[in-house]
């Protein structure tokens, strides 16, 4: 595929690895926030081939993983109600709530359907006027404009049988929370390229200033990830802290203004629970009151559902890079990809799932003991 294959070239990758090796003189810890970047790193073994001095910490960049247990339980409740067609992206079907997941609800007779695009859910609402169609609107800023368009279309077309269960999360507050934590080990960040293609890069300047960390907007193909890492290391080595754009073929400083306008109309900022981390203030989007009619939480009376997280789960520490997945006692025991406890095991991008799936050969057989330092909750 054009503009994809060229950025997978193994020969150029080798040169980028060599260049990173050449310029690295001290140990650095770099966090990629985006789950898609984590996937690319683990799947291509990028962290295996980086010099030992460059450590990658996999951040909370998977909106699927960080959807709080309570929100999943709300989804399960709605999907179980008669007459409902519950539509979702494929990723969410295996995410467990307190006791089950959407797949199980489907097997119990719930009409749960995977959609590729939120507009497919709107189509279903038009095709089935006698049914209630609910769309599970999750994601980072990248997905919000698509989800917003669904609400916009439903509103335009006067659909009274369409609603959305919204659980959007925002990247800059997450970076703020991580960078502010006294136990943070992160020296530099790879910002999420596709999030920035929507929002632009301007939100990250203040983060760079406040925390004196380099932030490099990075893409997803192996060469893009390596280039992002190279830029961060180069900055760290020369002692600068700046905002850089290493994904300029897709990201502009101002972002996608048409998308931003739609999102500003349909959504409004709110506090959000992040599974495994806790509440991060002003880190989410919910439906704006203008579109309250499309809010599935009120329509199906599930707003009160609030579920506790697993006490065994240490994903918050994994997300901050304080422990490696195999250093958690539950890893591979109570917690596996089939029965995940927390955010980082829930989907393929989660650090724990990635380790479990791809790294069985590296995982030490006796877990390394760790003394728990104070974890600053956000």
């Amino acid at each position: 595929m054009k503009y994809l294959d060229e950025f997978n070239d193994p020969i150029v990758a080798r040169q980028l690895f060599a260049e990173i090796e050449r310029i690295t003189t001290r140990p650095w810890a770099i966090m990629e926030v985006c789950g898609g970047q984590t996937h690319s790193i683990i799947r291509n073994g990028i962290d295996q081939l980086l010099p030992d001095n460059v450590e990658l910490i996999h951040g909370p960049g998977c909106p699927v993983c960080v959807t709080p247990v309570g929100m999943i339980d709300k989804a399960l409740d709605i999907a179980s109600q008669p007459g409902v067609i519950f539509c979702s992206f494929g990723d969410m079907l295996r995410v467990p709530g307190t006791s089950r997941d959407l797949f199980q609800v489907k097997s119990e007779g719930g009409d749960v359907r995977v959609v590729y695009s939120p507009l497919d859910a709107v189509k279903l609402a038009e095709q089935h006027p006698d049914r209630d169609v609910v769309f599970f609107a999750i994601g980072f800023e990248t997905t919000a404009p698509a989800n917003a368009m669904a609400v916009h279309q439903a509103h335009q077309r006067g659909l009274t049988n369409f609603s959305v269960l919204v659980s959007h999360v925002l990247v800059p507050p997450a970076i703020e929370a991580i960078a502010s934590s006294p136990t943070s080990r992160v020296d530099g960040f790879l910002a999420a390229g596709h999030v920035c293609s929507i929002m632009g890069t301007w939100q990250y300047g203040p983060l760079v200033e406040r925390h004196n960390v380099p932030i490099v907007v990075t893409g997803f193909e192996p060469l893009d990830v390596l280039e992002g890492i190279r830029c961060v290391v180069a900055q760290l080595e020369r002692g600068t802290a700046e905002l850089e754009n290493a994904y300029s073929r897709v990201v502009t400083d101002s972002g996608n203004e048409a998308a931003q306008r739609m999102v500003e109309d349909i959504f409004e900022v709110c506090d959000r629970q992040w599974r495994g981390i806790g509440e991060i203030p002003l880190s989410g989007w919910r439906l704006s009151t203008r579109y309250a009619d499309y809010d599935a939480e009120t329509r199906f009376d599930v707003a009160a559902i609030d579920s506790p997280e697993s006490s065994l789960c240490r994903s918050g520490e994994v997300l901050q890079g304080l422990i490696k997945p195999y250093e958690c006692e539950a890893f591979g025991n109570e917690c596996t990809p089939r029965r995940p406890l927390g955010a980082t095991m829930v989907s393929g991008e989660g650090a724990c799932a990635a380790y479990y799936q791809y790294r069985r050969l590296d995982v030490p057989t006796t877990p390394v003991p760790v003394t728990l330092s104070a974890v600053a909750g956000a």
Partner: protein, 93 residues
């Protein structure tokens, strides 16, 4: 998060006020929403996420980035050559 892949716009049309397009990924054709890229044209490349084109690919920028990688490769080869020469000089002396 944010699986988005590059494709080429093949045709553009309106569907009840929403700008839609057919995008081509190496022979795969998919209908996507073009509402967020009002200035894009047939033949342009865009990245697509959940059925929406979210950003036009700046082809000149892509070429620049690839050219920069190429230069890096040449630079690295030169550096490798230099250090190999230094090593062989050291061996000889």
């Amino acid at each position: 998060m944010c699986l988005a892949v590059p494709g080429q716009i093949v045709d553009i049309r309106e569907d009840r006020g929403t700008r839609m397009a057919t995008i081509d990924f190496d022979g795969i054709r998919k209908e996507i929403c073009l509402a967020y890229l009002p200035d894009i044209d047939v033949g342009d490349y865009a990245i697509v996420h959940v059925g929406f084109a979210i950003s036009k690919i700046d082809e000149a920028s892509a070429r620049e980035t690839l050219a920069m990688f190429k230069e890096l490769g040449i630079l690295d080869d030169e550096l490798a050559l230099e250090s190999a020469e230094v090593e062989s000089v050291e061996l000889r002396s």
